[in-house]
């Protein structure tokens, strides 16, 4: 029997709620097969992935450390995605935020002023926004595709970082390693609990989530963005500016990504080095989708992905799982999510085969 998709009259809410769980189940199943192919113990690996992260207070705190930037960037990206502004260069905006924020302790190495950290927060946000603004400008002024531009800008941002780390900002006492000096305490977020890396930068994503919820659910500005994404012609008809939507989406995302970059260098990393982003900019794309682009859904999705990251780190040691497995898992999650989401708008229906044809085939 052949099947075809038939569009539902109204999207199914029931399926919509089920999609994330189905996605996770299928992804775990597919990953299990891949593990078997690699000759790994499935049980041991999944134990390391999903259970071990919760077995010590330290690793739980590490989950929340990863949760912060993922949540922050994903909330912002989701706003843009709902307006169909495809900013996939959060990674680059994050790097520029980290660089801008890092400039403060790099130049004021000895200062212990209480204004250091606030200055870094502001500069971090501005750095990310400035980088995103390039894409917004090129999109609104020259119609340049934002997917390609934001992506290319990430590669450029990486080279800017490398240049600074190998040249002017290199730690003179750092044995020629590509990194800056370690930042002074005044340039770091204080830890929430002494001895753990989890710090007060977590406040930023939480505040931003509240902002995102209010903006998308209660504010006219958010409504305008959603209209632009669903029906661009209706947005023009209603007089909502499409250029405004591009600027809003990209600047919000740039700000969030910049703040995330700042939180990393003023938090667990404590300096500028080659890997300041840990790939959060890309993972956040998956978080945004897995959370159905909804502020509440994204909270759960960000937490889940944070567990995966920590679980991956643990499995690296305890199950000898290559780090690429985490990337594959993330890729599978998104692929499966997109395929499953189809059932929200469509239902499967057996293709009509006439009686005569069946008879004809058997005779």
């Amino acid at each position: 029997m052949q099947f075809e998709f038939e569009r539902r009259v109204t999207p199914s809410r029931r399926v919509m709620m089920a999609v994330p769980f189905i996605t996770i189940a299928i992804t775990i199943f597919l990953s299990g097969i891949m593990l078997l192919l690699q000759g790994k113990s499935v049980g041991l690996t999944f134990y390391a992935f999903f259970i071990e992260p919760f077995e010590s207070a330290y690793s739980i705190s590490e989950i929340f450390l990863k949760f912060g930037p993922l949540l922050l960037i994903a909330q912002a990206l989701a706003i843009g995605f709902r307006a169909k502004i495809w900013n996939i260069g959060a990674e680059g905006q994050m790097i520029m935020g980290a660089i801008a924020a890092g400039s403060v302790p790099v130049f004021l190495t000895d200062s212990s002023s209480i204004f250091i950290l606030p200055a870094m927060i502001i500069l971090g946000a501005l750095g990310g926004m400035a980088w995103a603004a390039i894409a917004a400008f090129l999109k609104t002024k020259y119609n340049a595709n934002e997917i390609l531009v934001t992506l290319m800008l990430t590669s450029v941002a990486l080279q800017v970082l490398y240049y600074l780390l190998l040249g002017p900002w290199k730690d003179p006492m750092g044995f020629n390693f590509p990194q800056t000096v370690m930042f002074q305490d005044a340039a770091l977020f204080p830890p929430i609990i002494f001895g753990f890396r989890l710090n007060y930068s977590l406040v930023i994503p939480i505040l931003f989530t509240i902002f995102a919820w209010i903006y998308m659910e209660r504010r006219f500005g958010g409504f305008q963005l959603v209209v632009g994404g669903l029906a661009p012609q209706a947005a023009t008809y209603a007089g909502f500016s499409s250029k405004g939507a591009v600027w809003k989406s990209l600047l919000i995302a740039g700000m969030a990504a910049g703040l995330a970059g700042m939180s990393e260098v003023a938090g667990p990393i404590g300096q500028l080095q080659r890997s300041v982003t840990s790939g959060y900019g890309y993972s956040a794309i998956i978080v945004a989708y897995l959370g159905a682009l909804h502020p509440i859904g994204i909270i759960f999705a960000a937490f889940f992905l944070a567990v995966i990251h920590i679980g991956g780190d643990i499995a690296l040691v305890s199950a000898d799982l290559p780090i690429s497995s985490v990337h594959i898992f993330q890729g599978l999650l998104l692929v499966t999510y997109l395929a499953s989401y189809t059932f929200v708008n469509y239902r499967l229906k057996p293709r009509k085969v006439s009686q005569e044809q069946v008879g004809g085939a058997s005779s």
Binding site: Y163, Q330, L332
Partner: protein, 308 residues
């Protein structure tokens, strides 16, 4: 070879990676499929091609299996976006992420290993010519085959019935279906062909152009290939020129080093991306022209439903 000859010869080789991938993307886009997973397809194929060539010593086998790997990854994209009707942009990104992860896994045991590149063919007499001989006529055979392929694709898309049908699917899928062409079948085929060429591009990159494996070695070249299709306004000839231009730009780093010019190497590494952004802005600013040449239904999901 003088440095200048070396530069020109290298350009042809570097351009071949871009050209192969961009030609594949062109065919997919002509059928209406915007596949942003090129980077991932190339990465997987590069890893597979390298591993096979390293293990068997056969470049040909490496290419063939890499081609299949490219097709396999492209079919993931095709199934999700054509059969399951998912958004093409998001699916392409997802497949890209998946591909990069897979390539790292496949190449893990071969990290930083090298292989000997295959010999180049010396076209008799012509390759003896001063200057242009070594530049134009002492390349690897894949370079020439790719140029030939570009001509064949241009001919096929513009002059043959097959090309007409592919363009029809990308132009107005509903009408194509009404004329009893299977849009889904055509698009599957076009995407798979794109996967095959992205696979060859990856294999060329990892076994001939720089015969070594390193995680992340595709380094954005798949994305440049996607951009090249836009630069070339979906015309094979212009894509060809664009690929050679980018081949040249990507060699800037080597040339500057060999000439001892004091430009930071990071600026040179960033150059292909800066040039891409600039050219993209220039080409796109003429929105009317872009709209005229872009396949009309590019990136649109076709669910086959009939409005009543």
């Amino acid at each position: 070879m003088t440095p200048f000859e070396f530069f020109l010869a290298g350009t042809m080789s570097a351009a071949t990676v871009f050209l192969l991938a961009a030609l594949g993307e062109l065919v997919a886009e002509k059928s209406g499929m915007l596949n942003l997973g090129v980077e991932g397809m190339m990465a997987v194929a590069a890893a597979v091609g390298f591993v096979v060539t390293y293990q068997t010593g056969s470049h040909i086998l490496g290419f063939v299996i890499a081609g299949f790997a490219g097709i396999a990854v492209s079919l993931v994209f095709a199934v999700v976006s054509i059969t399951f009707l998912a958004n093409q942009v998001a699916t392409g990104l997802a497949v890209g992420i998946l591909g990069l992860g897979l390539s790292a896994l496949i190449g893990k045991e071969h990290e930083s290993l090298t292989i000997t590149p295959p010999g180049s063919i010396n076209i008799p007499i012509l390759s003896e010519l001063p200057f242009i001989g070594p530049v134009l006529f002492q390349q690897n055979i894949v370079v020439y085959l790719t140029i030939l392929l570009a001509i064949m694709i241009a001919y096929c898309l513009n002059k043959t019935r097959l090309g007409l049908v592919i363009r029809a699917a990308g132009e107005n899928p509903k009408a194509a279906e009404a004329l009893s062409y299977s849009v889904k079948f055509i698009r599957f085929g076009s995407v798979a062909f794109g996967g095959l060429l992205a696979g060859f591009a990856g294999a060329y990159a990892s076994t001939i152009y720089t015969p070594l494996w390193a995680d992340g070695m595709i380094a954005g070249r798949g994305w440049i290939a996607v951009a090249l299709v836009v630069f070339g306004t979906w015309k094979t000839g212009r894509i060809f020129l664009g690929a050679y231009l980018f081949g040249m730009v990507s060699l800037g780093e080597l040339v500057a080093q060999s000439l001892g010019i004091g430009i930071p190497s990071q600026l040179l590494s960033a150059m292909p991306f800066i040039v891409t952004i600039t050219v993209l802005a220039v080409i796109s600013s003429n929105g009317a022209r872009l709209k005229l040449h872009a396949p009309y239904a590019l990136g649109e999901t076709y669910d086959g439903s009939e409005p009543r």
